[in-house]
Symmetry: C2
Subunit: 340 residues, 2 copies
């Protein structure tokens, strides 16, 4: 770890500081138990961790950071913050068809956050470690005069050559998504209370939960290796993310808006198409595949318990077009969406 | 990446915001060139990076974070901030005897930092990539309402079983350090102007440079595989770090203060023993080895161009004792050091 520039005794003695075990105490209490399932973590007592990679496999690595006030609210329950941090990273691994293995975590915490916050945060990590079969491998804990800043580096494994990348879409491929689209962006509005009175309490709660707790499609993603020609997860928004696939693949994408799968709650907001298509934070899989793979893809969907829907096609050219039910273009003009 | 909660058009249009290319522009301009030497980085265009691990090797992974106002000053040159961030992580890899390969980087930057800061930061990364033969593999770029917060995850490789851990010290081993000790802590004082008038300008500049730009001992560390019984880098302070080795090894350590190697500048401050022994931020290697390895260790030191000095021994028992030139204990009493 890097030594602090400004650590002083007076800092440590401030009367309004919440209860804290100190860095080594916190590692022992909260983090070391999370690393007990990973021999290569070396009990978090060494300078670095060891990761073995079986023959004919490679490691898949991704990093995602979350900042208080930017990606989550300081009032959010710490266990949900932890689980969202884990899940947005696992979603990136799923988008490469990798199987998650473990993660490294850096927490930069203000002194106003005591051990109670960290206890909740660690409980959320433990819950998702159990759910996804992963373990903490190492990390760093620092203090900050600013907002909570969390960085997670997630590791997965994949057979050499089995990874699915963004650049493989071909003209004639179909475009698919998993789950339902738009719940992330509408869920943020729900979590902020903006949909109170517009939707019933059950719908508001459903959408807020979808925003707070992504469902990374790790099983489905893994099953799509060899089937999908290109894949990524929907984080910036369906249309923009499909644009990334098209740019890297050198092709054009067509989305039929009426085919984009919506949750029951989102379907009750029929005037929110722009939010659904561009809002992001869905963490569903967006992928392309040859039409002759469709039966295997639907079987993978069934096996993983996650629905998959064909929403469009890949053509020669560039850019992404969105069509309404009549087949007319819906065009994004930089401010919102309008019909031509 | 995770979508921002609070991004708004008004934010983007603030008149006092410095010039910025935006996230994708910054990745293309500043970060993608740093990843060009690493095929597994996939040009930073995919959800994750791919890392191959040759047969009979394993990966060694470490994470270190630096926060503006805590680990560095906002006025520090951005290229030096970048190089320190790289080097503190490489020092951790060196302490396991691993060869560095690449790294993942997360930058959380306030909007007050424009592309000029990032250009300097990237230049520092490029310089140290060339010096240490590493490449950027991936990462995340987010904005923050708080201080600059940087997290680096560094990867190295090592033959299976060749890693040197902290827990292997045995009674009868000698204790060694590389380079000189105390320059890091004294260098912080020098960088803060506290040694102006106490030392000449050349000494002040030497120490400040030692603080700002650690020299990770990656070549020496790699050569110590099979020779050192336990190893770590000196970041928290020599005595405390030797304490970690002793605790994990179940042994006691003895340091002869007069043998601890000092730079010429540090030697001109004879009353600063406590700072030298406990100040930290040295990023030198601290290791133990059987006396019959001493000739090979000195050969490794010569081959790597980094001096190595025996400063003490390992005994049965627990804790760390520091002896003065007469063989009497010097005891840390929680505030400073005093003679018994």
């Amino acid at each position: 770890m890097t030594r602090q520039v400004n650590m002083s005794d007076s800092d440590e003695l401030k009367a309004d500081k919440p209860a804290t075990l100190g860095e080594f105490g916190r590692i022992a209490r909260f983090f070391a138990p999370l690393a007990s399932g990973a021999p290569g973590a070396l009990g978090l007592t060494d300078d670095a961790a060891l990761i073995d990679c079986p023959l004919a496999e490679r490691l898949v690595v991704t990093v995602d950071a979350m900042v208080e006030g930017v990606h989550f609210l300081g009032s959010d329950p710490p266990d949900l913050v932890a689980r969202k941090l884990v899940r947005v990273n696992l979603s990136d691994l799923a988008a490469m068809a990798a199987r998650p293995v473990g993660y490294f975590l850096t927490t930069a915490l203000p002194k106003s956050r005591g051990d109670d916050w960290l206890a909740g945060f660690a409980a959320g990590l433990a819950q998702d470690q159990a759910e996804f079969g992963i373990a903490l491998m190492g990390g760093d804990s620092v203090s900050t005069p600013g907002p909570i800043t969390l960085t997670l580096t997630a590791f997965g494994r994949i057979d050499v050559g089995a990874e699915v990348r963004r650049g493989g879409a071909c003209p004639g491929d179909l475009v698919f998504v998993s789950g339902t689209i738009g719940d992330g962006a509408l869920g943020l509005e729900a979590a902020q209370g903006k949909l109170d009175g517009v939707l019933g309490p059950a719908d508001v709660a459903f959408l807020a939960d979808r925003y707070r707790l992504p469902r990374p499609r790790v099983v489905l993603g893994s099953l799509l290796s060899g089937l999908a020609s290109a894949m990524m997860d929907v984080s910036d928004g369906l249309v923009g993310d499909l644009g990334h696939i098209c740019t890297l693949s050198g092709v054009a994408g067509v989305v039929e808006a009426a085919r984009v799968p919506l949750s029951v709650a989102a379907a009750r907001l029929p005037d929110r198409l722009a939010t659904v298509l561009t809002g992001g934070d869905d963490y569903e899989l967006l992928f392309t595949a040859s039409p002759d793979r469709q039966a295997q893809i639907l079987a993978a969907a069934k096996a993983s318990g996650v629905p998959v829907t064909a929403i469009g096609r890949i053509e020669a050219g560039q850019g992404v077009r969105v069509l309404d039910a009549a087949g007319s273009d819906i065009v994004l003009d930089g401010v919102g969406w309008r019909h031509f």
